[in-house]
Structures are given as C-alpha cells and as structure tokens.
Symmetry: C2
C-alpha cells in the first residue's frame, strides 16, 4: 500500500467530482466556482466576502467577479454589514435559495452514490484527513 501521494489523489478526486457536478448541473449554466460558492451559502447563513473566500479557497479579488455574475443573475445580494460598513455581507435571494438547495441535493446524491459501499467510520476518517490538510501550515 501507500504508493502515491495523498495530495495528488486529493486533486484527482476534486477534478473528477467537480466535472461530474457541473455535468449533472449543466442546466443551471453555472461554473464550478459559482456552484462551490452557492453550495457553501446553502445553509442560509450570510457570509462576508472574506469568509466565503476562506471557505471556497479563493481570494477576495477573484471572488468579486464570481459574485458579480451571481448578483447579476439574481441569486445573491450584497449589502454592507451592520456594525462594520467596510465588510460586504452576501445573502442568497429567494431564487438563490432554490438554486443552492438543488446544488446541495445534487452534491449529496453524488456523494451517497460514490460512497455507498463504504462504512461510516471510513468516511469519517476521510473528513478528519481533509480537515488536517485544509489546516496545513508551513
């Protein structure tokens, strides 16, 4: 065992699932990043640009363009955050809630299908490893 690199396997899995997701959600006409953003907002909790950027791994400058398109399509709104007007709070619109729910649904379906044969503790172990890699520092 223990042949390849976990990190290379990680990137492989990410590309594969991303491609599968955009294929299944092709009718929404959204990019992978847009799907990722909406998927993270799906819980209905508003987030600032920085917070969302940290969650999906994109810088604020990149996120601006993604949010521009989502806003233009009426899926999110941007508003200054009460208490600190420098920050921008991103919230799903009614349409956005519906779209995000569909994304989460598809996400869960893909996940269940892919991991159907695996024991719960195996999946839980994977979560632990993913979290450790996410928090890796130099």
């Amino acid at each position: 065992m223990k042949s390849g690199s976990v990190i290379l396997e990680l990137q492989r899995a990410t590309h594969a699932t991303l491609q599968l997701l955009t294929t299944e959600l092709v009718d929404l006409d959204l990019t992978a990043s847009e799907i990722n953003a909406l998927g993270n907002l799906a819980d209905g909790v508003g987030r600032t640009v920085s917070e969302l950027g940290a969650a999906i791994g994109t810088r604020p400058a990149t996120l601006t363009g993604i949010l521009d398109r989502l806003e233009r399509r009426g899926l999110i709104t941007r508003a200054p955050r009460p208490g600190d007007r420098r920050a921008v709070l991103i919230t799903l619109t009614t349409d956005g809630v519906r779209t995000a729910a569909l994304i989460r649904q598809t996400l869960d379906a893909v996940e269940q299908r892919a991991l159907a044969g695996l024991a719960a503790d195996v999946v839980q172990a994977a979560r632990t490893v993913l979290l450790a890699l996410t928090e890796a520092r130099r």
Copy 2:
C-alpha cells in the same frame, strides 16, 4: 458530526494544499497545474497526453498549453509513441527529473507535516474515500 458535504470539504482541502505547495515551491516559478503534471510524472514512467490528462483531471486541449510551457522550459519532451504514432509520449528530461523529485519531496513533506498526528489506518481510509470519489459516475 457529519455536518457539511464531503465534496465541499474536499475542494477546500485541495485549494489549501495547492496554495501551500505553490508557496513552498515559489522558486520554481511553476503554476499549480504544472506542479501537478510534474508530480504525476515523477515516477519516471512516460505517459501519453490522454493518460496524464486523466491523472490530473484536465482535458487534452488544456494540457497542450501546460505541456507547451514545460517543454519550452526544457522539463519534458514530446515524441510519438512507438506502435501508435497518433499518441504523444511525454517524458521528463534530466532537468525535469530533478524538478519533479523536488516537487515530490515537498509534496511528501507537506503531507507528513499535515498528517503527523493521525493514525495510519485513518489516512488509509481517506485514500479509499478519495479513490471512490475519483471513480464516481452518474
């Protein structure tokens, strides 16, 4: 437990490790995709464009540009594959071997550092899940 989506956590971990990697390897002046390609070629086994594309999750049309830059920098060579001259066999040059080795070394170091506290069977479980997600079909 079991709050978020494994797939969203997967993408988060990928972004984080990718960013860490390019930071640690900034002296090589390579993009994430170039690092990914070289990391996959590091075992010294030649691969066709299709094979490498499948390994790193990019389409042949995308890979062409990545390979163009790696070839221009003298890290890989392209040659028709004996037996099927339609296919292009990608091989590391001497410089490429050295660079790929450094990448694998850094990859392993990041991985060891991040997963230091975790039991071997937890990491192995994560590999199983990553493989299952990589092979997910609709």
